[in-house]
């Protein structure tokens, strides 16, 4: 009986896949993703036309591409979300291996598109950023290792996952892509935290970071200047950040009006890293809050659903995916709002970019697969009077 309700989704013969998927999927989160993608297309119409014109392309070249990739991403999301967690795990581990190899080969075959960091493979018709695809696979692999590490007589999963994390972070750091490296490290930390990191250790780490930061701030003029510059209310208006801040100011609460924005003409990354500035300028604070709300809803709903989850692997994987996804969005918006130092990171589903879109689709697909409603042994609890403490 317990084997029947634990871990695996009970499969009834003849139960059709799609109706069951519709019954068990988190439809609210899925709707949020669709809305985000729609907002992305809408902003792309505004943000990418100046770039297309600069590059001598059809004005809606990037929008067309975005909808093609977006369609592929949504399909990937739906297909992945229909898989069982075990299948997701297998495919994710394979995907991790593939993208890890791709990441390791970047220094030899990659290109930097003149931006100073080797992050892409150029495939002619499109480019491919392995680190985007690495993230979902990495999260699932780490979750699996940690869950296995908790089994009796299981492998030392936490240690192994830490080693893998260190290697991946090292590979990202040599690109250099400190933003992604920090995100990877962060998602490992979140999973370790949920998997039961000792509180004492967390407090010691926090204390060490605080002391080291204070020490560096008081001793190193360079470090102090960086921090002061970041904290200072004034920003050099000729930097991307300055343009973004100005755009948010210009936009105010309700925006300057559709198509009236100027920042998209001055910012080279208006359609990717600083899409939120375009949103803030043309549609105002309202749209920014809507976007934030959508991301927040996805993450908080997923976390809420995972509260009830009893399977360690699913819980860890779900938490890791949700936090990675949400944090990436928060970093992107936080940079424009100058809460965080500048890091190149896309806004999932909203920014232009094929790799980012499809990887985002896969990631959210996995997340939806993890948060599907499953029997959690409630009947067993009632019968055996357990788990009611």
């Amino acid at each position: 009986m317990t084997e029947m309700v634990y871990g695996a989704v009970p499969e009834r013969a003849g139960d059709p896949i799609i109706p069951r998927w519709w019954r068990t999927i988190d439809r609210w989160s899925m709707s949020c993703v669709f809305l985000l993608f729609g907002i992305g297309l809408l902003l792309g119409l505004a943000a990418s036309t100046p770039l297309a014109q600069r590059n001598g392309l059809d004005p809606f070249f990037y929008v067309t591409r975005q909808s093609v990739f977006g369609g592929a991403a949504l399909v990937a999301m739906l297909v992945v979300s229909m898989m069982r967690p075990v299948v997701v795990r297998r495919l994710a581990v394979l995907g991790f291996l593939a993208s890890f190899v791709a990441l390791a080969l970047l220094p030899f075959f990659g290109t930097d598109f003149g931006k100073g960091a080797v992050r892409w493979f150029s495939l002619g018709f499109a480019s491919f950023q392995p680190s985007e695809f690495l993230k979902p696979g990495f999260v699932v692999l780490v979750a699996w290792l940690m869950a296995a590490g908790q089994e009796i007589n299981g492998p030392p999963g936490k240690l192994w996952s830490l080693l893998i994390t260190v290697v991946v972070v090292g590979l990202l750091a040599i690109q250099p892509d400190f933003g992604q490296a920090a995100l990877i490290l962060f998602s490992w930390g979140v999973m370790y935290f949920v998997a039961g990191a000792p509180m004492l250790l967390l407090m010691i780490i926090g204390g060490v970071v605080f002391v080291a930061g204070t020490f560096a701030y008081s001793r190193s003029a360079h470090f102090a200047r960086r921090i002061d510059g970041f904290l200072s209310p004034e920003v050099d208006p000729r930097t991307q950040l300055g343009y973004a801040t100005n755009a948010i100011r210009e936009g105010g609460f309700f925006g300057v009006g559709v198509g009236e924005g100027q920042v998209k003409r001055s910012l080279p990354d208006a359609h990717t890293d600083f899409i939120i500035a375009v949103a803030a300028e043309e549609y105002g604070l309202i749209l920014v809050l809507v976007i934030l709300g959508l991301f927040g809803a996805i993450v908080l709903r997923s976390l809420g659903r995972l509260l009830r989850e009893r399977d360690t692997f699913i819980r860890l994987a779900g938490v890791g995916l949700a936090c990675t996804f949400g944090t990436q969005a928060l970093i992107n918006i936080g940079v424009a709002a100058r809460v965080l130092p500048a890091k190149g990171m896309t806004l999932p589903f909203v920014s232009y970019g094929g790799s980012s879109l499809i990887a985002g689709g896969i990631m959210v697909g996995m997340l939806l697969a993890m948060t599907r409603t499953r029997p959690q042994g409630e009947i067993g609890d009632i019968f055996m009077r357990r788990g009611t403490r």
Binding site: E151, V194, N246, F253, A280, L289, A337, V339, R389
Partner: protein
């Protein structure tokens, strides 16, 4: 807590005895422990998930709130805010002591072109060359049709030119508002003001920066965006104008190639007027000459930068010092038999004054030999210290950017010969401004005064150089120079002019000796001598007065009449009442005003 073993020996042994499978017991125990662990882990994870959720939610709130704060802040001057270091065209006015404007900013426009937006570059170039004759049509056409995307056409234009350019009607010709510096009095006080030009230029404004004089010296003060009050100088425009006019006339009458004059308040050190001729119009400042002697350029400020051996005007210093030290009194007889020889060097007087003169007469009649003998009593260290205390060993500290360039030329080796020659103004070169400071200290009761171009409210309380009694005595001697000495043409009725003449042979430019026929003629003095208020220095460069039978070059014939005329014109403007004894008006009853 006590943990139950996975393979409890008692149960396993019993199971073996009863023929059961001990593995089942272990599996059952493992399952139980597993469930226990899971429940524990789930409860712990529940708490931590909630923490995560709260953290994430607050992060969203923080970022959203921050966005709202940024969105709520006002956009000040949207385009100007795009530039971190905005170009500020502001520059405060400069006014004289009575508030008359010497320099001000007015609005104007620059004309620039954006060739990509031009419709008919050829016509635009042709029309522009017609409006601005100094521009070359070919050059403009080349600029307009070439690669350039931006071309300055004119840095500033008049309203009429602006309209004419507007009438060309080409959308590629644009106007950039900016401010320009205007000197409404033209060449008046040109050297003091200096001039201005443009620094960083944008299409919306341009920095107006000072290039010389007080404009450059007070650059930061004038450009301070928070400053609205004008810079108040010590100059008096009317005195300056009268002085420049007299000096210009005197320079041409005396056929001098250059001239300078200073009028300074003996108590406050305020420069009331200072001029150097030839001068220039700061509205259209000439270029610095690349060839020839910089000292012949109109840009050269003779009063400040021109360091000359000023000659006999220096005799006041050894005489005053000797009186102060008590080495002599005014009536002590000094041996003036000439020529006085010192090694291979001979000192002569302009004429033979007989075997001896009183100290007073040595000064009044200007005996080189007598002054040299007085200097011998003083000695090198005391002479040097005295001149140092009067500021003759270093540049003046007046508020002009050129001040450091007016550094005195000192003898490389202050020998006994230097002691003798410096006493009558040779061997040490200084600027007329140095001399004015020195004379002010002699005349004002004996305290050091430094020249300033800023209006002062109270007298300076400088270091004491000589006693008041000596100062009074010196003033009396200077007055005697006019009444019965070398400066008899310097008498101005009612203003008691006193002073000392100096006629110095110019050193040869190539070095080695002096010209016979080229002099610097100087008259330095005070008025009114009974209670000196102002000190003046008039210097003419290579004057020659040709009204007589033979050319006369001495200061008494050249600089003194010019200075007298200057005092006659400026003293009333300075508010001095003439001390004229009016003949009694018999038969007229004076009523009160």
């Amino acid at each position: 807590m006590t943990r139950r073993p996975l393979r409890p020996l008692a149960r396993i042994l019993r199971a073996r005895e009863e023929g059961g499978d001990p593995e089942l017991i272990e599996a059952e125990n493992i399952r139980l422990r597993h469930e226990e662990m899971r429940d524990k882990a789930r409860l712990r994870a529940e708490g931590r998930l909630l923490m995560l959720g709260v953290l994430f939610f607050s992060a969203v709130l923080v970022i959203g709130g921050r966005m709202a704060v940024i969105a709520a802040t006002e956009v000040e001057a949207p385009r100007a805010a795009m530039i971190s270091d905005p170009i500020i065209g502001h520059r405060a006015e400069i006014v004289d002591r009575n508030g008359r404007v010497l320099a001000m900013n007015i609005d104007t426009h620059a004309v620039y072109a954006q060739p990509p937006q031009m419709i008919d570059p050829a016509r635009a170039a042709r029309e522009l060359a017609r409006i601005f004759p100094e521009l070359s049509e070919e050059r403009l056409l080349r600029d307009f049709t070439g690669e350039r995307r931006f071309v300055w056409v004119r840095r500033q234009v008049s309203p009429e030119q602006l309209q004419a350019v507007h009438d060309i009607g080409d959308p590629g010709l644009l106007f950039g508002p900016r401010e320009m510096r205007l000197y409404p009095n033209g060449a008046l006080a040109a050297h003091i003001l200096g001039g201005a030009s443009y620094g960083r230029e944008g299409v919306n404004s341009a920095e107006v920066i000072g290039v010389a004089g007080v404009e450059r010296f007070f650059e930061d003060t004038l450009r301070d965006p928070d400053r609205t009050a004008p810079l108040v100088l010590s100059l008096d425009t009317t005195v300056q104008a009268a002085m420049e006019e007299v000096l210009q006339g005197g320079m041409s009458l005396m056929n001098a190639k250059g001239a300078s004059a200073i009028i300074m308040d003996v108590h406050t050190g305020e420069i009331l007027a200072m001029a150097s001729l030839p001068d220039f119009d700061p509205n259209n400042r000439p270029r610095v000459p690349t060839t020839g002697d910089q000292a012949d350029s109109p840009l050269f400020n003779r009063a400040l930068q021109g360091v000359y051996e000023l000659g006999s005007v220096f005799k006041i210093f050894p005489v005053a010092q000797a009186l102060e030290l008590g080495l002599v009194d005014p009536y002590t007889q000094i041996d003036t038999r000439g020529p006085m020889t010192w090694g291979r060097f001979r000192i002569r007087d302009f004429r033979n004054y007989g075997p001896s003169l009183s100290v007073e007469d040595v000064f009044i009649r200007s005996s080189n030999i007598g002054t040299a003998r007085i200097a011998l009593q003083i000695g090198i260290p005391r002479q040097r210290a005295f001149l140092e205390s009067l500021g003759f060993l270093e540049p003046t500290s007046i508020e002009m950017i050129e001040a450091p360039t007016g550094a005195p030329l000192l003898p490389r080796n202050w020998s006994e010969l230097s002691l003798l020659t410096i006493s009558y103004g040779h061997g040490l070169s200084s600027s007329p401004l140095h001399l004015a400071e020195g004379y002010a200290a002699m005349a004002n009761g004996g305290t050091r005064v430094t020249a300033t171009l800023l209006r002062q409210d109270q007298p300076q309380r400088g270091e004491r150089i000589i006693s008041e009694a000596v100062s009074r005595r010196i003033n009396q001697m200077m007055r005697d120079v006019v009444t019965r000495g070398t400066a008899s043409l310097g008498e101005v009725r009612g203003y008691e002019v006193g002073g000392k003449t100096g006629t110095a042979d110019k050193p040869r430019a190539a070095g080695g000796g002096y010209y016979r026929d080229k002099v610097i003629a100087t008259f330095a003095g005070v008025f009114p001598a009974s209670d000196p208020q102002y000190v003046f220095v008039v210097t003419l460069d290579e004057p020659v007065e040709t009204s007589g039978t033979e050319p006369r070059r001495t200061a008494g014939w050249t600089a003194v009449p010019v200075a007298a005329e200057m005092v006659r014109r400026t003293a009333p403007l300075l508010g001095l009442r003439p001390q004229v004894e009016v003949a009694r008006l018999d038969g007229v009853t004076l009523s009160g005003n």
